[in-house]
């Protein structure tokens, strides 16, 4: 479901098969177990729909903490999309249903933020090499969920690169920069743990040189 990676506002998502509830995929930076929530509540939603004669379900929405999970039927699967609480589920569903029609405005990112994004992508290249990229994308998503809460709805891994999915609001530039700094620190800390400080330092140095 690569199309979902590009939808602004989606923090993470899970897909489950409609016939048996088996989890197919979980992606994004959510700190919540979206797969279980999607599987259990899509099934509960179907039972309640029949029980109360609601007609065909357009969506089920669960609210928890500062987020909500919007569950929609999409062909032979259910998709659970985590978005911020208070956002309009219909807007996200519309983009899921008609991805080609929706024209996204060009994304303009301030230089300070685009440099940080470039730095993170280069760190993933260096740390992940040819074979470990998936692992480093997992760590990147984890760090977004843990440390980049405010930035997670507008940023994500799209076609194997960290990228903004919507224009970052100008007044949030400092806040977003702060979040990205933490993510850089997290990735470097993980690299030191996993490959030792001298190898990690050498790879960080390569990134610095590539950015010059």
């Amino acid at each position: 479901m690569d199309i979902i990676d590009k939808i602004p506002g989606v923090i993470g998502y899970a897909t489950v098969r409609a016939d048996d509830g088996a989890v197919e995929e979980t992606k994004g930076s959510s700190a919540t177990d979206l797969a279980d929530l999607t599987a259990y509540f899509s099934s509960a939603g179907e039972v309640i729909k029949n029980n109360l004669d609601l007609g065909e379900v357009r969506f089920v929405s669960l609210h928890y903490g500062s987020n909500q999970l919007v569950i929609v039927r999409h062909g032979d699967r259910f998709i659970g999309l985590e978005i911020e609480r208070g956002k309009d589920p219909l807007q996200i569903i519309k983009q899921l249903e008609t991805p080609v029609v929706i024209e996204q405005p060009p994304i303009t990112v301030p230089r300070s933020l685009s440099m940080k994004i470039q730095q993170i992508n280069l760190l993933i290249d260096e740390f992940g090499g040819e074979n470990e990229r998936e692992h480093w994308f997992d760590l990147l998503n984890q760090s977004l969920g843990l440390l980049g809460r405010e930035i997670a709805p507008v940023i994500g891994v799209v076609e194997n690169r960290l990228a903004f999915k919507a224009n970052p609001p100008a007044e949030k530039e400092d806040e977003y920069n702060g979040a990205l700094r933490y993510i850089v620190d997290f990735l470097v800390k993980k690299a030191v743990e996993e490959m030792g400080s001298s190898q990690a330092r050498a790879k960080v140095q390569t990134v610095i040189e590539r950015m010059r």
Partner: protein, 193 residues
């Protein structure tokens, strides 16, 4: 929650309000009477599902159908909600406000008992312990989990603190390994024993 509160909510604009306590007591407004039995079954299914998924504190569920929709608010006492005619898929925010108002009425049938209130200084003590595990990330992780779990730092209930501890343990586990995350959770639990 009592019958008067439901009737008042109906008069104020909730189309088909209802309330179901954890113990299964089901109250419905006259407009909702036809669904009483189905709502009791629905509530039972939801209590079971939420209890299976324990760690996530779900406080609202909406199901939007193409004929009718339902919105339900959950708390320790049970469910309050309303069925309404679907209008283009949108859920009026007014329903949420009216449900909260309905919940505030004095409780007769479904007393809401929350576990003991904990002194807010426990949060600072938790941060000191967390610092040993995640160092420079402490404040950020702590604040993010407070927001994720919608914790009110001014009135801390034991169940909220326990939820926060679980979330901090999970977050810490992602950074320094799951065994360290469990170790942290155990140390933090000691603070509220």
């Amino acid at each position: 929650m009592d019958q008067d509160a439901l009737n008042n909510a109906a008069a104020k604009g909730l189309p088909m309000p209802f309330a179901v306590s954890k113990s299964g007591v089901t109250l419905v407004a006259p407009t909702t009477a036809v669904y009483k039995e189905q709502l009791a079954q629905t509530a039972s299914l939801i209590f079971e599902t939420i209890s299976t998924l324990g760690e996530v504190k779900i406080d609202r569920m909406e199901i939007v159908g193409d004929k009718k929709s339902i919105i339900m608010d959950f708390d320790a006492g049970g469910i309050v909600g309303t069925i309404f005619e679907s209008a283009g898929g949108a859920v009026s925010s007014e329903y949420g406000s009216l449900l909260q108002e309905m919940r505030k009425k004095p409780t007769a049938v479904t007393p809401v008992r929350r576990k003991a209130v904990i002194a807010p200084d426990v949060l600072e003590k938790m941060k000191v312990i967390l610092q040993d595990y995640v160092g420079d990330f402490t404040e950020r992780i702590f604040q993010n989990q407070m927001k994720n779990q919608a914790i009110n730092a001014e009135v801390l209930h034991e169940e909220d603190v326990r939820r926060l501890i679980l979330a901090l343990g999970r977050a810490t586990g992602m950074i320094v390994g799951h065994s360290k995350g469990h170790e942290l959770s155990s140390k933090l639990i000691e603070l509220i024993k």
